[in-house]
Structures are given as C-alpha cells and as structure tokens.
C-alpha cells in the first residue's frame, strides 16, 4: 500500500483546487501581471483580479486614498478596463502562471452582473467568479446590493444561472448581522462566500474643513479592521455550510491563520500588497512553517477554534 504524501497546504474551495490557501484580494493586485517584477505569482494559491464591469470605468475623482491609523481609505470608484479588455489584454499575461485566477465582477444592475458573468463563462484561464455586491444598485436609488439580503440573493441566483464557473459571493461588512447576508446568498446558490469588503469611513482635513477624499467617504481596509473581519468570519462559519474565504487586514501568516482557525478555508491578502509586493508569498511560507511545526494540514486547521 502506497501512501502519497499530500500537500499539507492544499485546499479545495467551491470546487477550485488551491495549492495553498493564500490569494490576493481584488483591487489590491491589479490584473496580476503587474506584480511579476516583485513576486513569484506561481507560489500563490490564487489571484483575484481588480473588479470588472461590462464597460470600462474611469473611476472617481482624486484624491482617492488617504492613510488612517493602521489602515487606509480608498474611493477608487471601481475604475477598470472592462471585461472585454481584461480578456484580450490582461488575462493572456497570466498564461503559464500556475495559480488560480478569480475574476471579481460587479454591476449597477442585475443584468450587468449577468452579462459580465456570461462573457467570462467561456474564457480559458478563469477558475471562478467572485461577485462584489458592495456596489450601488442604481435601480434602488443607490442602496448597495450587499446590505439587502433580498437584492443580494437576486444577484447571486442570476449570476449562478449565467455561468458554469464556481461563484464566490463577496460580502459587505456594513450590515447589522452578516450571518443574514451569508445565509441569503447561500440559499441563492453561491458556492462560497468571501469576506470582508471594506468598511465605510471618512477622514476630514481640519484646515480645509473638507473631506480628504473627493467622494467624501471611502472604504477602510488594512490591519485596523482585522478584529472585525475575524469576528465576522467566525460568525458566518457558524451560520452557513459553504466554504468561506476570509480577509481584512492580513499582514502576516499569523494573521492569516487567525482567519483559517476562525473558519476560513482560504484567505485573501489585500492592502498589505501595497506595503510589500512580495508579502502574499511570505504569508504562504509562514503558514507552511506553522503547519509543519504543528504537524497538521490547512484542511484540519479550518474552523479548529475552541471557544468557551
């Protein structure tokens, strides 16, 4: 009887096989290829690309970012090249890179989500879709899809019907009870949930008496929000059965392991990529070291938290 030594870092999330649980978060890693001079993309579990819409989007006026204590606000406004240019210009650059590529998508109407999903469905090199529901729903007067369980579920079931790819739904933390949102999208058929997106925040320039960001508010990310993100992952892990991808302020393997132990099958590294473009690979090796030292596997660590 031969026992093949399995990769202790490998994990399957929503049917996607990841060689390790570390992915890069949408909007913090461009379209992936920009990081080739700085890091070895093939060492990553996966790459989630910048959010894609049907048409190219120019994004918000500037200033778009401001640093905050242990974090930053961004109001990029989902600037992106559009799904078409992604497929023709950006995706080919990742050919030959041994990592899962996830396309993050969004729209201002359910139809727009459907169209982007359809366009990506027959695209080689895309392993899954991640639906960003933290977007203003133009038909509902700008209320974001991600704070209304009914609207969120609508988007998810529509996208599920439009694609054969696994669907990950990315949840907004700007809600009273994130379990309600997670259950709604689980019932709507999502294959996994990812969380958290940014938390709405504001910084004011007291000399000008104006918000620093041109759009007044922006999304808070970085280590400042990590305790909130870990809490939400833990809550969601007790509420749903679909796998969870955790994120929010991960700067090190230790941080990533907090999410995994809380219940995340995989993690995404976001803002940290700006601080050190090679940090995601460092997170992978830190997790490998921990798994080795404890004689365990990532699979066994997922949700291994004891409470009470």
């Amino acid at each position: 009887m031969k026992k093949t030594k399995e990769n202790p870092l490998a994990i399957v999330v929503a049917g996607i096989r990841l060689k390790n649980p570390v992915m890069t978060a949408s909007g913090t890693f461009g379209y992936g290829s920009e990081f080739m001079p700085y890091t070895d993309l093939s060492k990553l579990g996966g790459i989630v690309v910048k959010g894609l819409s049907l048409k190219p989007r120019q994004g918000n006026p500037s200033p778009r970012i401001v640093e905050t204590p242990c974090g930053m606000l961004n109001a990029i406004g989902l600037q992106n090249v559009g799904v078409e240019a992604f497929i023709t210009d950006k995706l080919p650059k990742l050919k030959g890179v041994d990592t899962a590529v996830v396309a993050n998508i969004f729209g201002e109407t359910v139809d727009e989500y459907i169209e982007v999903a359809k366009r990506l469905d027959d695209t080689e090199g895309v392993s899954a879709l991640e639906i960003n529901i933290s977007c203003p729903n133009v038909k509902k007067g700008g209320i974001v899809f991600g704070t209304d369980p009914f609207e969120a579920a609508r988007v998810v079931s529509a996208v599920k019907k439009a694609t054969r790819l696994p669907v990950i739904t990315k949840l907004s933390p700007n809600v009273t009870d994130i379990r309600v949102m997670a259950k709604a999208v689980e019932d709507a058929g999502t294959d996994a949930v990812s969380l958290i997106n940014t938390i709405t925040g504001m910084v004011i320039d007291i000399e000008k008496r104006r918000p620093v960001l041109a759009t007044s508010t922006g999304g808070l990310s970085g280590p400042a929000i990590r305790p909130i993100a870990v809490r939400m992952v833990w809550q969601v892990s007790q509420a749903v059965r679909v796998p969870i991808i955790g994120m929010g302020g991960i700067m090190s393997a230790k941080d990533a392991l907090e999410f995994i132990i809380a219940g995340a099958s995989a993690v995404q590294v976001g803002t940290a990529n700006f601080v050190d473009p090679d940090i995601s690979v460092k997170v992978v090796s830190g997790i490998a070291e921990y798994v080795e030292r404890h004689g365990t596997t990532v699979k066994d660590l997922v949700g291994s938290l004891t409470t009470g």
């Binding site: 920009e34 700085y38 994004g59 006026p61 200033p63 970012i65 242990c70 280590p223 700006f274 473009p277």
Partner: protein, 265 residues
C-alpha cells in the same frame, strides 16, 4: 525595481526641518525624476510607504553619472512618517521599493532649458540638472532657510534665480512671476513643486508656446500602478485616448503639462 533592504549611510539635518538621507544603493540605474518608496517603520503605523524623489547619485561612475554606490534623498519633516525617518541613524536598514516612475525626457541639444522648482520640488530637478549640466533654475521657497540646497545647484555652475514669499532672498513673490521673462517659444521647461505653482507654470508655458514637463505629487499607496489611488484627471485631449485618469506613480510622476486637466488638479 525590487523591494530591497538598504543601509542608511547618513541622515543629517540641513536645517531643523530638512534632512539629507544617504542610502547604500548599488543595484539599479536611476533616471532623473525617478522616485523611491520608503518604509519608515516595520510597525503598522504608519502603514504605507512614503514616496521621495532621488536627489543625488553618490560616487557616480561612468558617462551618465547615474549608477553609483548610493543615493541621496532630501526630505522635509511634515508629519508622522518623515518624523520617524528623521530619528533614524546610520547603519539602520530601511526597506526601499524602487526606482519607480518615469523620469524627465531628455531635451533636444538646441533647446533652452529652464527649471522651475517650489520647495521640495528642487529634489528631482537637481539630479536632472547634474546630468544635463546646462540651463537655468528658478527656485521658489518660503524663506531663506529653505534655499540651502540651492548651493549644490550653484556648484553645478548653473544660473539660479530665487523668489521668496517674504522677500528675504531674490524676488519677493511667487517663483512663477519670473517664468515669462525666462522663456521663449523654443524653451523646454521642467517644473516640480506644489500644484498651484505647476498649474501657473503650465499656463504661462502654454501662453508663451514653450514645452513644459511637470513632476506631480500625489498621496500614494502602492507606487507601482496597481491601487489606482494616485490618479489625476487627464485633459480633454487625453480623454480622447480613453484615459480619463493617469496614475502619478506609473504614468508619471513626470507628465507633459498639456496632458493634465489643471482645473481638477
């Protein structure tokens, strides 16, 4: 372009709020206008790197004097990050990402060169001037103390004219007051400084028919074109190229002034 940990050679005050920072740097050639992103602390606050232009290449060898043993930055203490930086001592090691961005375009040998700097805008222009070794500099500052680095400029043999708001040195008023008188339609102008100064310089050059390149500053997170945080609005002309925003870090920091929408800077 890689992230590297480099040793501090020196970190000396030029005046109470300005410091010269020497860093060991052997890896890559610097082009004038390049900048680097420094991490001032291994902690989480401040979280993001800070961008600084390159002022000098130390012990530069070879024809273009752009590869040497080290680089010198000059920075002004304005907040948390630069405050921490000013406390660093020789021998300590800093994480540096760079060189980044696109430098100043090389002028045609027949072109007259005018450099115009405001405050810390002097930094990239000095490296440019020390390579190109001709042209004149118009330097605007708050007061006499801030003009110390201008000595280095004079040592290059270039003509320097000052403007200070308090009149303590040179022209009393804005440095852009001196620009019309210094340029002709054939001149190429290199400008670096605060946005209002650049806007004024761009207007004057447009009016006089001079070419104008500006080096912009913007709050940055990544420095490598991926966060899309350092956007500035492109001019209508550029809008036709389907680029409504340009990124200061990766499309710039040096831009032809006509590419920028100066009303929304």
């Amino acid at each position: 372009m890689q992230e590297q940990r480099v040793e501090i050679l020196y970190n000396e005050p030029v005046s109470s709020r300005y410091f010269r920072l020497g860093l060991k740097w052997k890896t890559s050639v610097i082009v004038p206008g390049h900048f680097v992103m420094l991490r001032v602390s291994d902690g989480l606050d401040p979280l993001l790197r800070r961008p600084f232009g390159v002022y000098k290449v130390l012990n530069a060898k070879g024809r273009d004097k752009l590869k040497g043993d080290g680089i010198e930055l000059i920075y002004q203490v304005v907040g948390k990050g630069t405050g921490i930086l000013s406390g660093k001592t020789p021998g300590e090691v800093l994480s540096v990402l760079g060189p980044l961005g696109n430098g100043f375009p090389v002028p045609h040998p027949s072109q007259d060169i005018v450099m115009i700097a405001g405050g810390m805008g002097i930094v990239p222009l000095y490296l440019f001037a020390s390579t190109i070794k001709r042209g004149s500099l118009l330097f605007g500052a708050r007061g006499k103390a801030q003009t110390l680095v201008a000595k280095d400029f004079k040592a290059l043999g270039l003509k320097v004219r000052f403007a200070t708001e308090d009149g303590s040195l040179g022209h009393k008023g804005y440095v852009t007051d001196l620009l019309s008188g210094a340029i002709t339609p054939g001149t190429i102008v290199y400008a670096c400084g605060p946005a209002p100064m650049l806007k004024k310089a761009a207007e004057i050059c447009a009016k006089e028919g001079a070419q104008c390149y500006v080096s912009l500053e913007r709050a940055m997170a990544c420095g490598i074109g991926v966060c899309l945080g350092c956007a500035v609005k492109a001019s209508a002309h550029n809008e036709r190229e389907n680029k409504n925003y340009v990124m200061v870090c990766s499309d710039g920091p040096v831009f032809e002034s006509a590419l920028i929408d100066w009303d929304r800077i």
